[in-house]
Symmetry: C2
Subunit: 500 residues, 2 copies
């Protein structure tokens, strides 16, 4: 074939890819892989490319020595005209990573089906206005936002709940409440950090719209527990901490702190464990909370017993009634062993108003696995009538780390029914005919040509093929093909028409 080099000179000439061993970065950064780290275990034969991606991601943020030449023999002498890596902080999904992602999403979908939730989806690009909240949340400080060519402020969404609320309002009276919706979508953030943190992840969301009572939260936690059980995770691996924002609300009322400070206080208090207690106290005070109230807040948040909480707040506050109800329902559902009351759970989103919860690994090595809660005010702040709602978000990163750690990642190989191989180039058409007939029957058929038989056998093993169908001249003359069943090594001839 003749060359058409017209494209080449238009391409940006980027520097050759640096060889990884030249770049200093800590082992800790190496560990900071999302999906990718996990994929090593589940890849069948293809070495995962992901770890190098993740590392490069770190490199870009750490010292990058300019113009270091690739070491001889590194296989990197060829100068790339493009950067072969995806944009910083994003992932490619080569087949082995994609199989893992599909498997995980299938678990999400199956649990959602079991809970009889309906799937919905929203654009990954949203109006910025949907996420403008001034309570100081990390999520709104790290918006991946920009102006489109029409001058509109848009974002790659950092979370999905506001889009869901928007659609509920748009649907209006055409839908009857309650709605039980789930979605799996990509979320984005933009942060300048020296860690190899990702800028995107996928998130499973389940939301119940139109149920004001605590059993909605109990349903959501039922879903989370079902997922863990399906994945082989037990309640000794993972727990779910539960509290209510109404605990803080009651404390603020005790100290006559104005309600308008509520969301901001929640967001600050959520930083406990991430920044020091002193810093949290300082932030609370600069938000306008008296030092007496700060002390009260910190004390209450340390409680992990509902009885003690009741002793402090009194038994007539909603927080107590809600939490008691929740724990009682949990017993009926049969997941009490998974949940614990922990007043320190506040969650970082501004809009939660009631029960909040998060799942965590009991060894305490990882970040929260998922988190959620009640957000009864979000729809009305968007201009709708008051509609109670609750939901959770469950990312694709921490769960995979956990599954990897527990040795629970499935072995996901390729799976092919038949490999069709012509023993002679002239039989290309005949092989196509055989492949086409088997495909019409729904078989997964790999048509292989221009290879040696030895390669074909190796390939068959690599893709877990069930059968090898050899199209040879002498058999074809007799209207036959040769079939080799790969598990039993059985081999026989069969009429082309009778091949099933």
């Amino acid at each position: 074939m003749s060359a058409f080099p017209v494209l080449q000179h238009h391409l940006l000439f980027l520097r050759p890819r640096l060889h990884l061993s030249f770049i200093p970065f800590s082992p800790r950064l190496r560990r900071r892989l999302f999906f990718s780290a996990a994929s090593v275990q589940c890849s069948s034969s293809l070495p995962s490319s992901s770890s190098s991606t993740a590392s490069r991601d770190d490199i870009d943020e750490v010292a990058e020595p300019p113009g270091v030449p690739p070491p001889p023999g590194s296989g990197r002498e060829t100068q790339q005209l493009i950067d072969v890596n995806p944009p910083r902080g994003t992932r490619d999904f080569p087949p082995e990573d994609m199989r893992l992602r599909n498997w995980l999403f299938q678990q999400f979908r199956e649990v959602s089906r079991i809970l009889s939730f309906e799937e919905v989806d929203f654009p990954v690009l949203e109006s910025e206005a949907l996420f403008i909240r001034k309570a100081g949340e990390e999520i709104t400080q790290q918006l991946y936002n920009f102006e489109d060519k029409g001058g509109r402020r848009v974002v790659l969404r950092p979370e999905i709940t506001p889009s869901l609320a928007r659609l509920v309002i748009k649907q209006g009276k055409s839908v009857s409440l309650p709605l039980k919706w789930f979605t799996i979508g990509q979320c984005w953030r933009y942060e300048r950090m020296t860690r190899g943190r990702r800028r995107e992840h996928y998130q499973w969301n389940m939301d119940i719209i139109g149920v004001s009572r605590v059993r909605a939260e109990a349903e959501l936690v039922n879903a989370i527990v079902l997922l863990f059980e399906r994945l082989g995770i037990t309640s000794s691996d993972v727990g779910i901490r539960v509290s209510s924002r109404k605990v803080l609300q009651a404390v603020l009322q005790m100290y006559a702190i104005p309600e308008r400070l509520f969301a901001e206080v929640c967001v600050i208090v959520d930083k406990l464990g991430k920044i020091t207690k002193e810093e949290v106290e300082k932030e609370l005070m600069s938000a306008g909370v008296t030092s007496e109230a700060v002390k009260g807040i910190v004390e209450v948040l340390s409680l992990t017993s509902l009885d003690k909480l009741e002793a402090v707040l009194g038994s007539d506050v909603e927080a107590i009634a809600d939490l008691k109800k929740f724990f009682s329902l949990a017993e009926h559902y049969g997941y009490s062993q998974w949940i614990t009351f922990d007043a320190s759970v506040v969650r970082g989103l501004a809009y939660y108003t009631g029960i909040v919860f998060e799942a965590f690994d009991r060894e305490g090595k990882l970040r929260a696995i998922c988190g959620g809660g009640r957000y009864d005010q979000l729809l009305s702040t968007f201009g709708s009538d008051d509609i109670p709602a609750c939901g959770f978000g469950f990312g694709d990163a921490v769960i995979v780390e956990l599954l990897k750690e527990k040795g629970l990642l499935p072995d996901l190989g390729r799976q092919v029914d038949d490999i069709v191989f012509p023993l002679d180039e002239e039989l290309e058409g005949q092989a196509s005919m055989v492949a086409s007939a088997l495909r019409r029957k729904g078989h997964s058929v790999d048509l292989v040509e221009d290879k040696r038989l030895k390669w074909v056998f190796k390939h068959a093993e690599r893709v877990n093929a069930s059968r090898l169908i050899l199209v040879g001249n002498s058999e074809w003359q007799r209207g036959m093909v040769r079939v080799k069943v790969l598990s039993t090594r059985e081999e026989y001839e069969t009429k082309i028409d009778e091949l099933n």
Copy 2:
């Protein structure tokens, strides 16, 4: 519950949503729906919200009378604090639209499995450099591009092939060729038009990397035909036009036109049928093609017979050999009736080098359903070794229009196994227990509370529930629940432990 109005005053105050009936727009625009138009047919009970979205999308582009008040009684008096519509040109997927999308994607996946392709995925956000081509393609003129906060030029990808090529290069020698990869992903464009065209669509891509011979294209068309057959579309509904870029290449050589003009000529010639012949001729001449060659090009492109093409080009050009081979393979595959030679097929992407094809509805009402071809130079222009490749893209829009027109859209309702309903609020916990037990068995269970029994029956019909399980006081005392099989109206009591 007490109110926490802290969020409200931070939200942008957007104008109230305009009532649609106030806005003038043509019936033609109404027809320009993607998925949405289709969803009406397949929605079960919930009225689709999509048509209003699509209309609004048009409105934004057509005259938008500022500040027209909503008509009294329109139900739109409430002032929205947010715009309830997704960003212009994008879609929400409420449950009925999502069911259709999932169904379509499932067909894509199933055909890909049958062809033994592996699924991969790439970030929807890519480096702009990956798409910089100066051949004047529409796709690169309508990039949804911007600068990220780190000053990098990025795009919401307009197509997927360059990402795929990038990953192939990144994987390097760790993978063995050929690769057969598929992906389903969202693609974006930004255009200022007065039509209600979308800025995003989903695209199914199948690509074969590492096969230089025409049978790779024959495999791809096998996949497309299998998909049509599975959807109930016949070869009298749809045809696939096939040609080769080497036809144009041969013509250019005949007229001694320099090869560097090749891609640009292809892109211009592809506009035939979209702009007038005279305009195309003018563009060719300003690109540097002689008027004699322009005449030759236009003449050759009008051919729809391989024999006549051979008479013009001679039998020793690659174009003829490739096309003959392709049509011969098509006979073996058994899809000859679907394909026709048509020299006017060029496709609009700059990087195609060999066989090109596109599927079209024979009534000629719609745009191309899918299109693809060979792109043997793309990987080397990215800095890799020469690696032959071919693939196609198949959008989610035109196919749904076609299915709708042919009455082939499936009836996709909800499907729930059991509805559990406590007849008494006190039995909330007991109902949760029953629901939880059934869910552990994999049943899809909707737990309904706080509704009248009449509503529950209507709901059961709406969600196609198989059984209604009533938790009543007197039965529970006896360790029983009441089961109603909804298809047969059969009703019986069963022990709680024996409920299956």
